[in-house]
Assembly symmetry: C2
Homo-oligomer: 251 residues x 2
Amino acid sequence: MTYCLAIAIQDGLIFCSDSRTNAGPDRVSTYSKMHRFSVAYDRSLVLLTAGNLATSQAVIAHIQRDLEEDAEFNILKARYVADVADYIGELNVAEQARHKKPSGPGAGASFDASATFILGGQIKGHAQALYLIYPEGNYITASELYPYLQIGETKYGKPILDRIVRPDTPYETAMRCALVSMDSTIRSNATVGPPLECLFYRNDSLKPHARYFALEEHHPYLAKLRQSWDDNIREAFAKLPSLGEVIGEDD
Amino acid sequence: MTYCLAIAIQDGLIFCSDSRTNAGPDRVSTYSKMHRFSVAYDRSLVLLTAGNLATSQAVIAHIQRDLEEDAEFNILKARYVADVADYIGELNVAEQARHKKPSGPGAGASFDASATFILGGQIKGHAQALYLIYPEGNYITASELYPYLQIGETKYGKPILDRIVRPDTPYETAMRCALVSMDSTIRSNATVGPPLECLFYRNDSLKPHARYFALEEHHPYLAKLRQSWDDNIREAFAKLPSLGEVIGEDD
């Protein structure tokens, strides 16, 4: 499995992804799920992938081939981020269709080739944009009040995002929240794991080098963050009002 | 949807359930998902239900009819809690089979009649026991290190249980943790909602009246717990080490 998320704040866009992939318990491996496409001061785009690894790798390969072969449409020719979302949606649908098993009597076990993507960034002359692209090829943007999108194992890490992230959250806080959301997911689900990749694109910068870092399993900051969060959560829990009155006397 | 959980600690067993059910967005309703079967100083059993409401109600009705008609086997005749788990598993499978749609060409949309149960309690002469009964009729018990079981919308509320609950956790703490786990789920998922029911069975008591309370949406304790948890989590988050060093200077 996978967990990736992106946050759209006034400061810019934050992307965070784990790196664990598995195709059965004896094929656990590590792949980056974060892909960047930029041209300095013209466009800066980031793509996160979840779902079937063969499908998502084939989509990325197709994007790269369209760039190398200067295809009629490619990421560098797109006028809007939404056009790129449409293009990736189409590649995704086409790739899944190629590997669809025949259905009906005699067909084998069901097979899920679907992949889901988060695409975010900015193209010169337009506002920053963030989309979640479904296996069906259509897409949504983040909500105004809860300005984040998630793919993969989304549920464990959702509560902390709902509590902390708002459109005016500063970027350092939002990145830290993304890492805490990752940590809760990793703790509760063995199929999500480090290295964690994190990227911040500053709104309207269109700079060639976005702020990026990767945290390996034993990175000192990750260790410190985990220990601190665990301690602080226990302390937060210990300070909750006692159930004493509600529960009544022991009898 | 639903969220129910149970915790097996040295002090005894804790059960917690929400009360929201829905069969489509315009059929949202409130039903208790906690059912008790006890005979003073002989046995005390609690059953939590999730999944298809028609199936789980039919299983409960069947259990009650077997009690009224003094059937060859019923909950009051069982010698072990595991025998009750087997019996509920069989009722569950039989009820689902009755409503299975024909499959193959011409069949309608797929239909999920499956239900899942948590069964816990004690029968005189035996240790307390806790089981999660699958739609297939088989069942598991809780792990020794992480002594809880969940059914329904389990993921949002799992991280806090993983951090706090251990076999030697005192019962008041475990109940509070169950309520926090519920609150995180309610906040992140609209299909889980109050009233929340909570029950504590003290190990080896076999008392006719277990400690039970229900918290309506606007119960003062629930409001206080939510506000306090929200405040404390924000404070816990604010105390985390800054990403400053990792993220580098702003450029």
